[in-house]
Amino acid sequence: MSVRAQIGAVVVKDVRSEVRNRYAINALVMFVVTAVATILFALRSEQPGPATLAGMYWVVIFFSAMSGLARIFVSEEERGTALTLQLTTSPGILFAGKLAVNTGLTLLLTLSVSALYIVTFPGFVIRSPDIFALTVLLGSIGFSASATILAAIIAKANSRGTLYPVLSFPILIPLLMTVMNATEKALEGAAFIEAVGDMQVLVGYCLIMIAGSFLLFDYVWND
């Protein structure tokens, strides 16, 4: 099998098992709805400005992702399928497949949170669609790159549920600060040229994290 076909096989396997039990999707959707509803209850009729909205948007995404993305490796350990994967694929290919699945999930998550925010917050109007689209895309890629390698670490440790956000937060902070900054600009309707600096940081973060994860994944995966 070619490399691309092998990565595709990992993706198809994960998507199929997700379609069968819908564990991650259900958890993510319920978490997003609960979090946004709580924010709405807390605010009542208050109308927050762009900076607050951009911050709350990524807070919801961060915590929802933390509840769902670890599943990708934890499920393999729980079902006892990790050994089969170790025998049948190489670590690089497995990581690429898992990264693709997690990026898809994160993109789905950001899109649904965006839709929910547009409907529920009158102040959440995307005035610069180009900045917003690129921020969400690069943000999702960078987010899932860090989340996937940390999920692999977490799968081998105890007390996974609480440890995951603790480990992820310091590593995701540069990304979170930049995407919040860029989202605020998108809501305020800034020209694309004003957000170029943020985009450069995002591209740099994605490249460093993906390269680092690929190099380190061997050590996490092989006992």
Binding site: S146, A157, L167, P174, M209, G212, Y219, V220
Partner: protein
């Protein structure tokens, strides 16, 4: 090691005494007098303690990461002991740098914490150390613990350039070298310190680093003894 311990004690004692006791006067005549820096006055003395501890924090983190990477290559448990010992010391220096910085900020900038980019990065460094030890305590098998904590330290190390080079230029801050600083933004602040202060400052850097080296040596030797006791055949 005895020389390192003795010189650390001598240098830090000298920095403590001279950093606190040398008078600050408008026209300094020699090494025994510091010039007045407008806006800082007596508060300038903090630089002899705050900057060396912050510097040692970063050195300890890099050493920890270096030994972590060495463990991944050699699978020698001794490297993991060194990595953990250095991380523990780094955490201690990180707390010291945070406290000296927060106290100074209260009297110079008006509040203990302002979320200036440098304050943000030291807060993140504290979180990274916390997460590192949380991860270590959550894994029971020694080899797995050593492997995964080395990977985590490296991943965390990958984000450090963002805090040092990128963040201070995007977010405006209060530290020298931040965006909006009339002297120009950049990671390396050009020191325009008077020679009399520079001597104490550099001795402070050397002294705290020697202290770190000596403490690391003590901690590694203790950790080796404990490790041998827990594994009878080794």
């Amino acid at each position: 090691m005895n020389y390192i311990r003795m010189s650390a004690i001598v240098i830090i004692t000298y920095v403590l005494i001279s950093g606190i006791a040398i008078p600050i006067v408008p026209q300094p005549q020699g090494w025994f007098e510091f010039p007045v820096i407008p806006g800082l006055e007596e508060k300038a003395r903090n630089i002899f303690f705050h900057v060396p501890t912050a510097w040692t924090t970063v050195v300890a983190f890099l050493v920890s990461m270096w030994y972590g990477l060495r463990y991944l290559r050699t699978r020698n448990m001794d490297d993991d002991l060194k990595s953990e010992a250095s991380a523990g010391l780094g955490f201690m220096f990180c707390v010291l740098a945070t406290i000296t910085g927060a106290l100074w900020a209260k009297f110079n900038w008006g509040s203990f914490w302002n979320w200036d980019p440098r304050e943000t990065s030291i807060f993140i460094l504290l979180l990274i150390y916390g997460a590192y030890f949380a991860l270590r305590s959550a894994i029971e098998v020694e080899e797995t613990r050593a492997r995964l904590s080395a990977v985590y330290a490296t991943l965390a190390g990958l984000t450090v350039p963002f805090f040092i080079f990128v963040l201070p230029r995007i977010v405006s801050g209060l530290h020298p070298g931040a965006k909006g600083d009339p002297e120009g933004a950049g990671p390396v602040v050009e020191f325009k310190m008077s020679p009399s202060m520079l001597v104490v400052f550099i001795l402070g850097l050397i002294g705290f680093n020697l202290l770190y080296v000596w403490l690391l040596n003590v901690r590694v030797r203790t950790a080796r003894l404990e490790y041998r006791r827990s594994t009878p055949q080794g």
